[in-house]
């Protein structure tokens, strides 16, 4: 589940980099929301898989959220080069995830609330 959410988040970041919206703000929402959803799924996976001690995926997605949020609410210029690097790192993260043996993922990724 978290892998598909990851690809959705990367697609939203791709779209952001393609559009490079002139006015910051709401245009970043899709990427921010999808990354947050992915993050929540990773949290659930962590909580429901006590044996899984590797936090690196969660840490990397959290770091990505910081960069995207910094673009959504920038101080001065939007950090486009850093956002491009984030996309690259998220690709690498998903490749690493696929390379790892599957682990029990707990209940569900539906952690966002109404």
């Amino acid at each position: 589940m978290s892998e598909s959410l990851g690809w959705e988040a990367i697609a939203a970041v791709d779209q952001l980099l393609e559009d490079r919206p002139d006015k910051v703000g709401h245009d970043f929402s899709a990427a921010t929301r999808r990354l947050a959803t992915w993050r929540d799924a990773l949290v659930q996976r962590q909580r429901h898989s006590p044996a899984r001690r590797d936090n690196s995926a969660l840490e990397r997605v959290n770091a990505a959220i910081s960069v995207i949020l910094g673009g959504q609410f920038p101080l001065g210029r939007v950090p486009w080069p850093e956002i491009a690097r984030v996309r690259q790192q998220l690709h690498e993260l998903l490749r690493d995830e696929v390379d790892q043996p599957a682990a029990p993922t707990g209940t569900s990724a539906e952690t966002t609330r109404s």
Binding site: A36, D40, L69, F73
Partner: protein, 843 residues
């Protein structure tokens, strides 16, 4: 300036404040000045109790303050009424600006350097010719290349003021169109009223007389709020009303230690006492790089490394060593704007998982209340601490969205922890507010039951976190483990010792743990620790708490009352007080004596602590052949020591994000087109339009009226503390909206009729108070109505009513990210909300 120094003013202009009702204690000094003959002016859209006492009341349309103040600047310059000796010596009026500078007058309403794509400015063209004047605050560095630079020479000037790009000529050109006619056309203030104020201000400024401005959030809460304050500062610089008795800019701070919460900040972009927070996108990767980038070559801020190292020593103690850069990497780095408004939106996006709310009631006090509630509903957990139930703590049960039926409590999974808090008299500690006055208050009695102080909560939370992470080897937990957290506790509740915290903020020598007596003792080698350099001296010995001192000057005394509490820095009551003396160090006049150069003693003397190097003679000049740094680069005639060039900044080369000179832009929401520029509103304003936070277009016919909000004397701050008290609640029993007689007639509304106020953010119903205290304005030939509503009501307590902030939008000033509460647009109609659309329960 000190509050009591207002009594020494010859003219007081209250603008952006209703001082009589919101700062009644401070207002006694205004009335004292008036009794001594001072002229009191109130510039405000509403006629309030301040207006009733004032000699002149000038109503202006909300949000047009810069047009008014720009008109005053033009009046001063055009009539050559500025205090020439003061301004020529102490301001940058003669400094020459870069060739590439283009003024908003000649550049379509924006200054040179504007990037329309990002809505931000590069400041290169605003600089002094051939130099870059760096701002000491990291967040103010708009461009990454904004590292401090200097040519090692004084800034270029033209003392004849003929150079077309000297500040004087730039200002004359910039404000040329701010005529009395234009002031009336933009603000609605009649010309004769405006001119009376200009005459009063200029007549009461100069060698023998001084004038003061008093302001509060009526200036700050705009998308161009910082520039409003700047405009008044320019007036005061031109008229010589800074650093002198009865002269200055009186920032009337909020009651609940608001000044303290910026000094020892709850702000995201500052470390204690205005040190910059490191930024991930600036050259701040290592401590060495950070200090190199942020240390200003000249002026007092050159001492930044000593303050920064001492802060890290106070926080991380033995874990802060030269080998680990004094723990610099424990500090989080800014990645963007993490202030309250963006973080509210981030909550709505689902990014934020939990929130602590201490000393706040954001469902009532934060703009766009329903969006705030939507954000709270997305959290996993919410901690609220207060001594009575607040709207923030029970939003899930009684909130606007629950009342309207949009959400049910069962839809909200946020786990709310409501902690009982101690009241002020049930705990000891300090309050820091107007005048930078740090005042200690003792505990009168124990709080009842499980109520605890904020200090207790934070201390024990930190202690438990340290226990939880004790075995962690994760780098991200290192900051918590390294933190010094050794405050003594006492009593059954294990209450931490607040005096111990203040001692740490004051600072001490590491080797023998002796209190430092002043910030001059702080070092950059790790031998001193200090939690906030500006507070050094508040606790200069183990048992000497100067904040607790209560010794006022008697009749015939110095009048600075330095024995009453502690004013940072260095118990100094008037900042930049070197400016109270002329170039040679003599008081500008006997009547306005404050500081003077004592040639026999070779030091500055006077009624206050000098805000200057005490032994620097007035005729000292920097030896530029030696490439001076720090204070050595400022002469004995450079009073504004926190500025890199020691001058009052009439024109600001660095440090502002929306232009070097204040310019009239309309509020983001306005019923009129900007009569002065093609740019409708501040082009650098922080806008975050999104569903639930739509912004009205200029002149939107659906929202034709100006809306302003304000407090009430009888209901304190967010209201809960006084709404739950019967004796204060009965004084203001329910919410209301003030509507002019003219608008009421137009809409068929009678006094006490129900009305519905609406914006694109929400709707509320509230009773009308039809009053002559508000009058319509004639703006550019069009009648504009303004309505006003107190924002202090909610659904808790005895005095209840609609939350005005349901109507407001989230957008911010580009410099501070502060919200706009004083000038928006709305619709008004007679009647009540449809049951399904009720936003607030009037129980």
């Amino acid at each position: 300036m000190a509050l009591w120094d207002l009594a020494n003013a010859d003219c007081i202009v209250v603008m952006g404040s209703n001082i009589a009702e919101n700062h009644p204690v401070a207002f006694r000094f205004v009335t004292e000045a008036q009794q001594r003959g001072a002229v009191v002016v109130h510039v405000d859209p509403r006629f309030t109790r301040t207006s009733a006492i004032a000699d002149i009341h000038a109503p202006i349309r909300s949000g047009t303050d810069i047009a008014f103040l720009g008109g005053v600047i033009r009046y001063i310059l055009a009539n050559d009424l500025w205090f020439r000796e003061f301004a020529m010596a102490f301001t940058n009026i003669a400094t020459i600006i870069e060739d590439s500078y283009r003024d908003a007058e000649d550049n379509g309403g924006v200054f040179s350097g504007f990037d329309a794509k990002n809505g931000s400015y590069a400041t290169d063209s605003w600089q002094y010719q051939g130099e870059v004047l760096a701002s000491p605050l990291a967040e103010h560095v708009v461009t990454a290349e904004g590292v401090a630079q200097t040519t090692g020479l004084p800034p270029p000037t033209d003392p004849t003021l003929q150079h077309p790009r000297c500040v004087y000529q730039i200002m004359r050109h910039h404000y040329e169109r701010y005529t009395p006619e234009m002031v009336e056309r933009v603000t609605g203030c009649p010309q004769n009223n405006f001119l009376r104020i200009c005459e009063a201000l200029t007549r009461n400024s100069g060698r023998e007389r001084t004038s003061a401005f008093c302001y509060a959030v009526g200036w700050t809460h705009h998308a161009h709020g910082v520039q409003i304050i700047r405009a008044a500062s320019i007036i005061q610089g031109l008229l010589g009303n800074i650093g002198r008795p009865g002269g200055g800019m009186m920032a009337l701070r909020g009651h609940c230690s608001i000044q303290g919460s910026t000094d020892i900040p709850t702000l995201y972009n500052m470390l204690p006492t205005y040190l910059p927070q490191p930024n991930a996108y600036l050259p701040h990767k290592t401590f060495r790089e950070f200090l190199a980038a942020e240390t200003v070559p000249t002026g007092w801020w050159h001492n930044f490394p000593a303050y920064m190292v001492s802060l890290l020593k106070a926080w991380y103690g033995a874990h802060a060593q030269p080998a680990n850069e004094f723990g610099y990497n424990h500090l989080p780095k800014l990645a963007g704007d993490h202030s309250q408004l963006p973080m509210t939106l981030a909550m709505v996006e689902g990014v934020v998982k939990g929130q602590f709310v201490l000393g706040q009631n954001p469902v009532v006090g934060a703009v766009n209340s329903e969006l705030v509630q939507r954000g709270l509903a997305k959290l996993d957990w919410l901690v609220v601490r207060d001594f009575a139930m607040t709207e923030t703590a029970n939003f899930w049960q009684k909130g606007s969205l629950i009342q309207s039926g949009e959400l049910a409590p069962s839809d909200i999974a946020t786990e709310v922890f409501f902690f009982p808090a101690a009241m002020a008299a049930e705990k000891e500690g300090t309050m820091t507010n107007t005048s930078r006055l740090v005042q200690w208050h003792d505990k009168v009695c124990d709080p009842p039951g499980d109520n605890r102080s904020e200090l207790w909560f934070i201390y024990h939370l930190g202690r438990r976190l340290k226990q939880l992470y004790a075995v962690s080897a994760e780098p991200r937990d290192a900051a918590i483990l390294a933190l010094t957290w050794t405050y003594p506790v006492s009593g059954d509740a294990a209450e931490p010792d607040a005096a111990a915290v203040l001692r740490e903020i004051n600072g001490y020598t590491v080797a023998d743990r002796k209190q430092v007596t002043s910030y001059q003792a702080l070092k950059d080698d790790g031998s001193t620790a200090c939690g906030g350099w500006m507070y050094a001296g508040v606790f200069p010995a183990q048992h000497d708490n100067r904040a607790r001192s209560r010794r006022p000057d008697g009749p015939g005394g110095r009048g600075s009352h330095q024995g009453w509490a502690f004013a940072w820095p260095d118990n100094r009551r008037t900042l930049y007080n070197r400016a109270s003396a002329d170039l040679e160090g003599r008081p500008w006049s006997e009547r306005k004596r404050m500081m003077w150069w004592d040639a026999a003693q070779r030091k500055w003397a006077g009624t206050d602590t000098p805000d200057f190097v005490p032994t620097k003679a007035p005729d000292m000049r920097p030896d530029w052949s030696k490439h001076p740094e720090g204070m050595d680069a400022l002469g004995g005639d450079d009073p504004f020591i926190m500025e890199a060039d020691g001058k009052c900044q009439l024109f600001v080369p660095s440090g502002l994000k929306d232009g070097p000179l204040p310019t009239h832009y309309e509020p983001v929401e306005s019923p009129v087109a900007n009569p002065m520029y093609p740019e409708q509103f501040n082009p650098a304003a922080k806008l975050w339009p999104r569903p639930g936070n739509a912004i009205h277009a200029p002149q939107d016919p659906n929202y034709p009226y100006v809306l302003t909000t304000y407090r009430l004397t009888e209901l304190h701050c967010g209201g809960v503390s006084t709404r739950v008290m019967p004796h204060t609640a009965e004084l203001q029993p329910e919410a209301f909206v003030e509507i002019s007689v003219e608008l009421a007639q137009e809409l068929g509304i009678a006094n006490l009729d129900w009305t519905v106020l609406s914006t694109a953010r929400g709707e509320i119903e509230v009773k009308a108070l039809v009053t002559q205290r508000l009058r319509p304005f004639l703006i550019d030939g069009k009648l504009v109505h303004e309505v006003g509503m107190p924002w202090v009501f909610g659904w808790e307590g005895y005095a209840r009513g609609a939350i005005a902030n349901v109507l407001l939008a989230i957008h911010g000033d580009p410099n501070t990210s502060i919200h706009t509460t004083k000038a928006l647009t709305c619709a008004v109609r007679k009647g009540r909300l449809l049951p399904s659309a009720k936003a607030v329960a009037h129980v």
